[in-house]
């Protein structure tokens, strides 16, 4: 869209096609006989070639043609999708990609080498059409998706009078016709006799059916195979151009002569009525013809609709951002409206305000879902990475992914790519052992890297697990001492020790490989994740191997929040982290001096006074409230002066001047135009935990 450079549009489209191709190829490696995958690869190649030639990528198109031809052989069963062929195709895919991204570079040598390989592979297995060099022409390969000849049929049938008694069910016949294609059925009732003469079980109806289908006439006839002896059946093709006017249809059916129709049309419509009145055709015939006309019109409308719905729209991300901004402003105005309405006695005004609130919150959700992308689109990119790494390092590694449907904001997903690439590389390079070592350790020869994603409260958790050798405490300790990260001789618990891996300049790889181990890795990962306001942890899996857990907030531009007041300040607590609100009883209040515990249904929950944290100068309200928040397994109560209510919160980021204040994830604008800060509950709890570890231990005893 926009000021689209057509070549750019093609690049975007090609990107998707190349991904589709890659998926198909990687899957083919596992199941070389799957026809769907072969077709999918072939289609992708075919489309890349076709659109490429259209947008001036002739060299690429010519090259792609050869690869496509090879896959055509596979489709026809003349060639096996063997691992060498898949490997070649993957390589070819890389070349195609480069050709699209950097069309000016000279690829002829790479191209030649690959095509030679390809023709070696293909030769002997039949005629392949892989010449030595690519010309600019792109001979058309038979169109896979070209629709077969579609034809409209007019079917008119009536059953023998005693057919129903004989057990014929006309409904089944009609259903069978419907299964053949787009079908309009008209029942004609003109043969039904007066009640006095009627046979209760007789069959008096006639049916006019208009059927649009691509099956040949014989198939339609087959439908009537068991009834045709007694039935009155006629099947004739409809050869009408375009619109199909009623008059044309009637003439085509031979119901009336063209001259009559033309004369009457010249007088005036509605044609059907006039014809009936003029006694030229029976009302039933007109009715049936009208139905046929409707059928034709509907078909045109349907095909127009189809064209529309199959086309998804490409929108630049900035426009979505703009839309999000507008919705954000709308939400703020809405908050003002809500405030006005609540201080206003007019019930009609209130009703409108409530309606607005509902609509705007729906609009907000819709807008947000537009930006959400399933993480599977990211995961699928890593399959190639794992494939290539396994080959480079001579290890057998498989990638298992779960939770692909977990949705995250598009920008977050894009920025997750690099950190996850690092983590997967680390897993395969440092974690997963070579086949021999694995077998010696009693594991299967093939290593496994698991990528998992799932929702947890207001967070998305992504974990990278391997079943490799795990983390070497001794080496981490030695390295940390060597780099001066910790003083020598210090004993650290495992989790703290492992966190050292994320320190800048830390790398335990004994030698530098081209995969990882340059000492920039984990700290970059940590910074990347923290830039998304997420956290990253590393630990050992209980069954052996390493697990890295990345937690990300559902960084959406708008969240549901709980608005609270502490002293003069108003703060928003993200609603998904809130478990419940309770009153701080005077006893609990008095018993504690700094921090203490609440008894929530028999469970001890530590609480902390926000007024202390925020150094509020005002005296506390007489009845303070405790908002119980949770993150993972830890629950903490936050003591506030007042719980104001829920609030649709448009997140505005804080400037650089405040970016180091981790207790706040942003700010929002309230209905009265003032600003409220949004609490970053996770960082807040973290800090409180650190602060109160000692105090909690003492209080717990």
């Amino acid at each position: 869209m926009g000021a689209g450079d057509p070549a750019e549009t093609f690049r975007q489209e090609a990107q998707e096609l190349i991904e589709q191709l890659e998926q198909a190829l990687l899957d083919l490696e596992q199941t070389p006989t799957d026809r769907d995958l072969v077709d999918s690869a072939f289609r992708a190649l075919h489309t890349i070639k076709g659109s490429g030639a259209m947008f001036g990528f002739e060299v690429m198109a010519a090259f792609t043609h050869h690869v496509e031809s090879a896959f055509d052989q596979v489709r026809k069963g003349k060639l096996q999708a063997s691992p060498p062929l898949v490997a070649l195709a993957l390589e070819a895919q890389d070349i195609i990609k480069s050709m699209i991204l950097e069309p000016d570079t000279d690829y002829s040598s790479r191209e030649k080498a690959l095509l030679d390989e390809l023709s070696k592979l293909v030769n002997g297995e039949g005629e392949t059409g892989v010449p030595g060099s690519g010309g600019a022409g792109t001979p058309a390969v038979e169109a896979v998706s070209a629709p077969s000849q579609t034809q409209r049929w007019r079917i008119n049938f009536s059953l023998a009078r005693d057919a129903l008694v004989m057990g014929v069910n006309p409904l089944l016949l009609l259903d069978e016709l419907r299964s053949l294609g787009h079908c309009t059925v008209t029942a004609l009732t003109d043969l039904i006799p007066p009640l006095a003469e009627i046979e209760a079980e007789g069959s008096y109806l006639r049916w006019d059916v208009v059927l649009t289908t691509d099956v040949p006439r014989s198939v339609i006839e087959d439908v009537f195979i068991f009834v045709q002896d007694d039935a009155d059946l006629s099947i004739s093709p409809i050869d009408l151009p375009g619109e199909g006017r009623l008059g044309e249809i009637l003439v085509d059916r031979g119901a009336v002569s063209r001259l009559v129709v033309e004369a009457i049309v010249a007088s005036r419509p509605p044609l059907g009525e006039i014809l009936v009145e003029a006694g030229q055709v029976a009302p039933e015939v007109v009715k049936s013809a009208l139905a046929e006309q409707k059928h034709l019109i509907r078909e045109q409308v349907d095909s127009a609709k189809e064209a529309k719905s199959s086309a998804s729209i490409r929108v630049p991300a900035e426009r979505l951002d703009e839309l999000m901004d507008r919705v954000g402003e709308l939400v703020i105005v809405q908050a003002r409206l809500k405030q006005l309405a609540s201080s206003n006695g007019d019930t009609q005004f209130k009703a409108v305000a409530e309606e607005m609130e509902r609509l705007i919150s729906e609009l907000r959700d819709t807008t947000m879902t537009i930006r959400m992308v399933p993480i599977g689109s990211l995961f699928s990119r890593f399959r190639r990475l794992v494939h290539d790494l396994g080959r480079d390092l001579d290890k057998k590694v498989s990638l298992v992914t779960t939770g692909e449907e977990t949705e995250l904001d598009k920008t977050v997903i894009e920025r997750l790519n690099d950190p996850l690439v690092h983590l997967i590389r680390n897993s395969i390079d440092h974690g997963v052992e070579g086949a021999a070592e694995r077998l010696a350790a009693g594991k299967s020869g093939e290593g496994e890297v698991r990528l998992e994603a799932y929702h947890s409260g207001a967070q998305v958790v992504i974990s990278v697990k391997d079943d490799g050798r795990g983390l070497d405490r001794g080496r981490i300790l030695a390295k940390a001492e060597e780099n001066g990260l910790i003083p020598p001789g210090v004993k650290l618990p495992d989790d703290e020790l492992f966190q050292l891996i994320f320190q800048p300049g830390f790398s335990t790889a004994k030698e530098v490989t081209n995969v990882s181990g340059r000492g920039v890795g984990m700290d970059v990962v940590k910074r990347g994740i923290e830039a998304l306001r997420g956290t990253v942890d590393i630990g050992l899996r209980s069954g052996g191997g390493t697990e890295v857990t990345v937690r990300l907030p559902l960084t959406l531009a708008i969240i549901d929040g709980l608005l609270v007041r502490v002293g003069m300040g108003r703060y928003v607590i993200p609603l998904p982290t809130v478990e419940e609100c309770v009153e701080l009883s005077p006893q609990d209040d008095l018993r504690s001096t700094g921090r203490s515990f609440l008894n929530i249904r028999g469970e001890l929950v530590p609480f902390v006074r926000l007024r202390d944290l925020f150094a509020s100068p005002l005296p506390p309200d007489p009845y303070q409230k405790v908002v119980i928040v949770s993150l993972g397994d830890s629950r903490v109560g936050l003591v506030v002066d007042q719980v104001i209510g829920d609030h649709q919160t448009v997140i505005k980021s804080l400037s650089k001047l405040h970016s180091s204040l981790k207790a706040f994830s942003g700010a929002t604008i309230l209905g009265d135009g003032s600003v409220a800060l949004i609490l970053d509950v996770e960082h807040l709890i973290e800090w409180v935990m650190e602060q109160s570890d000692v105090a909690l231990l003492e209080a717990g005893e």
């Binding site: 703020i332 001047l657 204040l661 207790a663 942003g666 929002t668 600003v675 960082h683 973290e686 650190e690």
Partner: protein
């Protein structure tokens, strides 16, 4: 150069008019707990959350109660390479005026009550001296905020 002149306590300061976006009457101010005193608040400027800086604190003056004349000058200034909108709390705004560039003199070594690094030069208008602020320097040296979680 075209400047906006403003008052802090009894002195007249000036900043380049090109970076000024708007001048606001006092709006409701939201305090940011644990932020450095110089930037301990945020305000709403046309739907944006903008940090509010009390210029007086940069020049060793006491925070003062707001008066009828108190204004917020909204400026755009690069902070670590990123254009940032900032509100400056000042006691008074005078006018936009022209100061001949060659009339601006270097900051005298002595005779200034405050640290000279925030002053680009001293201009004259009539009998008054005008301190031309070095806004970028003011924000470049903004102290790292107290980190609540790093305690």
């Amino acid at each position: 150069m075209e400047v906006l002149t403003l008052g802090l306590q009894d002195d007249i300061f000036a900043l380049g008019a090109d970076i000024v976006r708007e001048i606001l009457d006092l709006v409701p101010v939201t305090e940011v707990p644990n932020a450095p005193p110089f930037v301990n608040a945020v305000i709403n400027v046309r739907g944006r959350v903008v940090p509010l800086c009390d210029l007086r604190l940069k020049f060793g003056m006491e925070r003062s109660p707001h008066t009828r004349d108190t204004r917020i000058v909204v400026i755009e200034v690069p902070i670590s390479g990123e254009a940032t909108i900032v509100g400056l709390l000042v006691d008074k705004v005078y006018e936009v005026t022209e100061i001949a560039a060659d009339s601006i003199e270097d900051v005298p070594r002595i005779g200034l009550r405050w640290s000279p690094e925030f002053i680009r030069g001293v201009g004259k208008r009539g009998t008054d001296f005008i301190m031309v602020l070095d806004i970028e320097q003011i924000f470049a040296t903004a102290p790292r905020s107290v980190d609540l979680t790093a305690a």
